[in-house]
Amino acid sequence: MQKHAARIAWAGVCISAGVVILHMAGSVPLWAYAAVLVLMFPVIIIGICLWWMAKGGKEDIPFIGY
């Protein structure tokens, strides 16, 4: 699970970095650059968080009161 998340996060980082470089080189217009970042930013954040999170327990029913 965590290895998987790390891979997703790295893929997101690589794609965003690629688009940033391409945008600086002038071959990607601003709107496409923004669109890619809008898609990738959530993925990167959740990916990184899932990667460094603590070991998970077993899933259970939701909180239903004290």
Partner: protein
């Protein structure tokens, strides 16, 4: 005010009905698309009910046939709101809006709770009535300007749209989507099946956002 929500980036022709994308409509369209995909792939949650005063709790299960029907309605609702987002024709917009209204009732019609069904019934009455101002508004648009195309209206060469037409259109959309009258909609939201009931709220917000753009044209 011609360049209202951005220039149409892309125009798709269906005869006299143009489908166009501006930054505004494309944002709304993508949101509708995202949530329709969620409806398509996600299973409903099992809603937990607590018996107050004790530790007991029960989970509500949704039967397969109910789930299928509600998913179908929710997808139809998503498609209708996508259509309403991108269409460039007043009459077409009202048709899609009417479809949103009817699918919204359909989404909760299958729920077994009488409370939810009562609310859905009241909502259905309003949605039914709202078609009168909705289509009436479109008719006044056509009579006063001679055209139904939003792109033509935005050019500003046609006569100004009368205030009543805009008011009718907004009133119709409010009735179909129940935008500020949320009491009934909130009761409908107590129904289990999160991905589907979210579609009710999403579609009504979206058509409300779109009608704001529409009334600002012309």
């Amino acid at each position: 005010m011609s360049n209202l929500a951005g220039i149409p980036y892309y125009v798709l022709e269906f005869g006299d009905e143009l489908v166009y994308f501006t930054p505004y409509t494309i944002t709304l369209f993508l949101l509708a698309l995202t949530f329709t995909i969620f409806v398509l792939v996600s299973r409903p949650e099992r809603q937990v009910d607590i018996a107050f005063g004790g530790d007991a709790y029960t989970t509500k299960e949704i039967t397969i046939s109910e789930m299928r029907f509600r998913r179908f309605m929710a997808i139809a609702c998503g498609l209708a709101s996508m259509g309403a987002m991108v269409t460039g024709d007043i009459f077409n917009f009202t048709l899609f809006t009417a479809m949103v209204g009817i699918t919204n009732v359909g989404i909760v019609a299958a729920v077994k709770s009488p409370h939810v069904q009562n609310a859905a019934f009241q909502y259905g009455l309003v949605a039914l009535t709202a078609t009168v101002p909705l289509f009436g508004g479109a008719a006044v648009y056509a009579a006063a300007t001679g055209s139904l195309s939003m792109i033509e209206l935005a050019k500003g060469t046609l006569p100004a749209v009368p205030f009543v037409a805009k008011a009718f259109l907004v009133l119709g959309v409010i009735g179909e989507g129940m935008a500020p009258f949320y009491a009934a909609k909130a009761e409908m939201f107590r129904a289990p099946g999160a991905p589907y009931v979210i579609m009710c709220s999403l579609s009504s917000l979206l058509i409300f956002l779109r009608v704001i753009e529409v009334v600002m044209l012309g």
